[in-house]
Chain length 582, copies 2
Amino acid sequence: MRASQYFISTLKEAPADAEVVSQKLMLRAGFIRKVAAGIYSYLPIGLRVIRKVEEIVREEMNRAGALELTMPMVQPSELWAETGRWEKMGEEMLRFKDRHERDFALQPTSEEVVTDIARQELKSYRQLPKNFYQIQTKFRDERRPRFGVMRGREFTMKDAYSFDRNMDAAGRSYDAMYAAYCRIFDRLGLTYRAVAADTGAIGGDRSHEFQVIADTGEDAIVYCPDSDYAANIELAEALSLLASRAAPTHGLEKTPTPGAATCADVAKLLGLPLATTVKSLVLATDDVDDKGQPAGVTVWLLLVRGDHALNEVKASKVEGLKAGFRFATEAEIHEHFGCKPGYLGPIGMKKPVKVVADRTVANMSDFICGANDEDYHYTGANWGRDLPEPDLVADLRNVVEGDPSPDGKGRLAIQRGIEVGHVFYLGTKYSKAMNATFLDEDGKPKHFEMGCYGIGVTRILGAAIEQNNDARGIIWPDALAPFRIVVCPVGWGKSEAVRSEALKLYEGLLAAGVDAILDDRDERPGVMFADWELIGVPHRVVIGERGLKEGMAEYQGRRDAEATKVAIGDLAGFVAAKLRGQ
Amino acid sequence: MRASQYFISTLKEAPADAEVVSQKLMLRAGFIRKVAAGIYSYLPIGLRVIRKVEEIVREEMNRAGALELTMPMVQPSELWAETGRWEKMGEEMLRFKDRHERDFALQPTSEEVVTDIARQELKSYRQLPKNFYQIQTKFRDERRPRFGVMRGREFTMKDAYSFDRNMDAAGRSYDAMYAAYCRIFDRLGLTYRAVAADTGAIGGDRSHEFQVIADTGEDAIVYCPDSDYAANIELAEALSLLASRAAPTHGLEKTPTPGAATCADVAKLLGLPLATTVKSLVLATDDVDDKGQPAGVTVWLLLVRGDHALNEVKASKVEGLKAGFRFATEAEIHEHFGCKPGYLGPIGMKKPVKVVADRTVANMSDFICGANDEDYHYTGANWGRDLPEPDLVADLRNVVEGDPSPDGKGRLAIQRGIEVGHVFYLGTKYSKAMNATFLDEDGKPKHFEMGCYGIGVTRILGAAIEQNNDARGIIWPDALAPFRIVVCPVGWGKSEAVRSEALKLYEGLLAAGVDAILDDRDERPGVMFADWELIGVPHRVVIGERGLKEGMAEYQGRRDAEATKVAIGDLAGFVAAKLRGQ
């Protein structure tokens, strides 16, 4: 491609509302333009990157035996009603009526449509396994779209759905997708980690997120440097930090802690370590009787150590909280504790509450907790002596850096990540809801065992940039770069020698099938270099009159601190080696 | 691809609501499945055909220097309001509100968004010309979606938009697109015709439709077999069939024609040729004064020969009717003619009407027309003698087969066509409405001269099938076929020799880059042949045990009446020649 016939539209400054570096750089480099909140046009150079992602995704999905199809953007309510998701999906699913007042939604995902295809088309076990995928526009009406393409409303997603005869076969489909995703992110040249993730209501252990590592990532991912353990922080198991409960050494004492309503304030005030305090969190469940009628409220007191944070996903797995919980209201708290938040604790409540202690808290002794009396805490509290044993002991907290790895092989570390892929075993959730069956070998109808597998195609652009950028702009991995190499002639308009050498290199690259661009805009070197460094082209060759007089050109990789002089005669070979990664 | 690992899902019968042959065959062959009215999923084999169309379109657009980008499906009302189209577009544009109650629409087309990109990005004449295109999902909420992918609601369209400095340059962009479209439809292997089309309010002569010829087409297209004249019937110019007006030979006579309210009935009743009758059509315009206030109604009498049909597009170009017209109400007709429809004519009206005669009617003599008296017509009517000369003479009618070609080079013929592409010169309609300007060489801002260029990607599938099918199914041109050749082994499961020869041919084809499928499903020959003939694969090779004993295989092209025996040793070469079209 010649730059003069292409469309390079860089900006000195990003628009003021751009928040994160990938968004700023994509706007400045002319990859995207905002049309509305969370809705972007992809300019030609941005679309080139999307196509490169799509092509790698498509090749690896096909290699794994998946079959590409296309399901519609606009989907009728009837199918979504069959699984109950027409009601359950929140406002993120954009719904509207057509001219005949029929209900439709823009696809946020396509389980219902693909399950409908399967129940119509896959009649026999002989047709299984099948894995259908599409690379299609999706829409999620985010309440607060932000971070450019990272949390947009309209985006491109690769979504795949596998249909199997039984759980074993579904496991093989899952493993095949997991392996395909590893190949995809390897080929994209991104540093990533596959981490175990929560399976929610489906259960089982088959859910992994593919996280691109970036300091700016929204997700915390937990791993063990000494083993292959890796999990999303929502899931990562926190062991007890205390192997057993020590004997009490202090008596229970009600201590004035005026104005100290947080564990940190109390520890500071009393001059004691934060790790000796216990944090109280009050939840509530709205109970129902056998007939589904409201049957009062149960109040729950969850206890984690003062330096730990409650993990709500883990809380939702506690027996009694699985059906859903909420934070208690101020009135409920007052009714049960006789005190306002900040001074709550498990000793001397006004009315019974269910006490759930984190594994570590359950083994603490001589701990500090709220006294259910404003401006007072207890010190020297001990289980069994000062208060009954907790009703339940559970893993309630987020792991922290340095926690023991659940596999017993070392200590945990934490990184930030950006989720770009997710593989998920669905079981029969959708096939049962939609009565999607096939005839098994024994002649009996069985529900499909399903899996779903997503990759955020447009989000990968943002994640790749968050991971790979510097003060000058984007640094694309070769596989993602809109152009792999730019040839910059200095003095294109006036030097025949420059033009001739630049064209020779450029045409040689094209002939070798390399995605090269020739900057024939006749701009000053500073303008050219700034554009291509902002755009993030990995390799650059500069050919100028001064260098040519000495028989030299210059090569600079996007991450190189400075240029390397290369004899014109060696240039083609030198560049070819660089493009091979040598 | 091996059929056992692919997804072949053919149906014996099309669903009852399928109307046209392409829709029936696409459903039966497993290319599409209906999700809602006018909304389809494309199963893997259908998507393959779409991808083939897209790839040819993309290659030719790129070759013509156009740049691919992507504009969003979901577009904000603000941009559409700038051109007034938020109000003007009918219910075909599906509108809705997002969760924050902001107005959006699904893109039916993208002039507004692309013009917004141009006004932001194209600052200087040095950046021109530019032609941006996308191949993207569109949505039009058709009142009555039908004919499968031919008039669907969700569909894939390639839409391109050119931006130029002036009309000359815009003309060159238009010509480049016209040429690219010819290459595209040539490469797709379709029989088509580029026909001049009406330019509506834009004016000028630069609008062409690309019509795939098919007896089942919705459009009538007019061409001259002896020249390159071709136009949509809406536009095709009708010359006068009478070079001059003959002298009267009959007197005016009021003749009883009881119950004969159509020209055909009158001609039959009187035993005279239909071509001696004149048909009266009554229109009305709602006039406004200088201040835009209603200023009464003008009634118009349009006259075409009894065997001709009024062309409303032509009527809309008559001076006085350009601002819009409607058919007159019964009350208006009665007020002006004193008679009910069926007996109206240009002689003896009650109140003045504007009389517009078609070119042929203006040269008629001794003609028959309504007498403005129920159950009576005049015969022997003559201009000048029995009634005043018409207020206006204009081309008002559709041409008919055998009419003289407007270029004077022969007689016109008429075919049916399916519109699959349209190139259109837009002028400054959108750039002025949105104030999209660039700085020209003289330093002054100028509005872009624009063109737009559409290809209905998914509709091409329907049109190709309407043009190419037989009782057994689809007959794809090679360029569009989901697979170019199928290798059908008879006895795959039991004959090692059959498997070995089939695999040898199949693997050789793959190695040569041919899109081949091996039917290893071990089905009976009848089932295999019926599937592949329905699906429309252009070339088929059958390898069976009986043939192999004689050292022979069979080749059959999809249009061949019978198979050709080919010696196994010659098979690869024979097939290669067939694939080269020899």
